[in-house]
Amino acid sequence: MDQVLIVKNSAEKGLIEFLKFLLEKDRVSGVFTLIKTKKQDDYDYALITEPELLKDAFPLHPFLPVNAGKILSNFTDLKKPVVAVIKPCELRSFIELVKRTQGNLENFLLISFTCGGAFTFSDTVENKTDTLLSDYWTAVSNANDFKNIRSTCKACDNFIPMNADITVSLFGNKNIDSSCKMFLNSEKAKTMVKGFDTEILEDQLDKTQIEKISKRRTEYKEKLFNEIKIQDTGLDGLIDEFGKCIGCHACSRVCPICYCVLCDFESSTYDDSSSMLESELNRKGGVRLPTDTVLYQIGRLSHMSFSCIGCGQCTEVCPVNIPVSVIFRKIGEKVAKIFDYIPGKDVAEQIPVTIFKEEEFTTLGED
């Protein structure tokens, strides 16, 4: 049984009351959350220190303009933590970044929620999502996957946040219009809520419902994975799949795990020198330009696939509709499985390429 805080207001308004409380009582140095600009369908992340501005906040809005985990890594040492409201996938990315010394958990009070999925970039660009919102929340409160959420979200079996100080109950919660239910998961959370005028009860998430949603999400994930057949189609199939890549590197730009200020693949290592082109031309008689697009994809897989948490931002931004997220997540899971590694779960679990065991794979190389 867990400690739960109940605010008598809708889930979103109740959360905003709590965020306002934290700012007014000076418990936090700022609030990091989604705010709406005046335009329809335009929600962006912002850091707010003036409580008045929270009137434009929509902390639970189902959209990822960027993966917030990437932004949180910009916050360096703060005297008082920032309270950040982010989705479970963004939280997992942040944990992966903390492992790479790109962030500090002490700087934050992390609020997340049981997630019913997010809208696509294309629906947002076409200004459809504001009109779909009410049907979205109905689906979420009934534990259904709303038809317009991204397919990466429909395949996400990690909809319950890991490592959040506070979890807002949304998915499958029939009372989100009248009550804001927040699970207090850490001592930090319990200290932060002191003096907030609400009731604190004991409750827990509905296990049967969670299993039902998990099963459905895992089945959808397997379906997406099975649609990718590159493991069976050889070099030609690989080129068919990645051949359209134009080398824009947008996938890497939005990826939270790709934090390198100078990406290896953008460095001068990959500049085409005419002497190298000449030697390739002598051998092959022709070379596609720009070179190294398929190499970039496989290279990026070897750099970060085991940390891929499947947020799907890469697929959203790919201009030629390569299913980057599904491919990276599929291969990433296979690689991570070798080392029993689960990305985003435990900040103490080190990245597989930085550690080793002396007694492992002892027959490899000895035959």
Binding site: I230, G237, K284, G286, I331, I338, L364
Partner: protein, 141 residues
Amino acid sequence: MATNFLPKIVSFLCKWCTYSGADLAGTSRMKYPSTILPIRVMCSSRVNPVFIIKSFFNGADGILIGGCHPGDCHYQSGNYHTRRRFIILTKIFESLGLESERLRLAWISAAEGARFVKVTTEFTEKITKLGENSAKKNIFV
């Protein structure tokens, strides 16, 4: 086709162990296949997985990485990292439908000239049977 095919096996050999083992094979007048294209590196862990991917796409029929036996690395732990990286890259190759049998990791010490001959001869036979790397003719990689 098989009789005329001489594979090219790009070989990253660590200076302290495998490269010296190859030298010993040479000074002992042992014969090993001319398919091996040796590249001396200071440690097998210097090998960036992208080197292997690049060699493969440039048409190398086989890629060999040679290093010290685990526990004997000149830099203490380099070869442990090589081992993990090799496993990850092999898994990625398999998952992408690329022939992971063209990649080989071998621990060969400076005293094991005969082992160097054995590994390279066996690997050359295996690659000859596998045939040419189709990436050689492909201009779209």
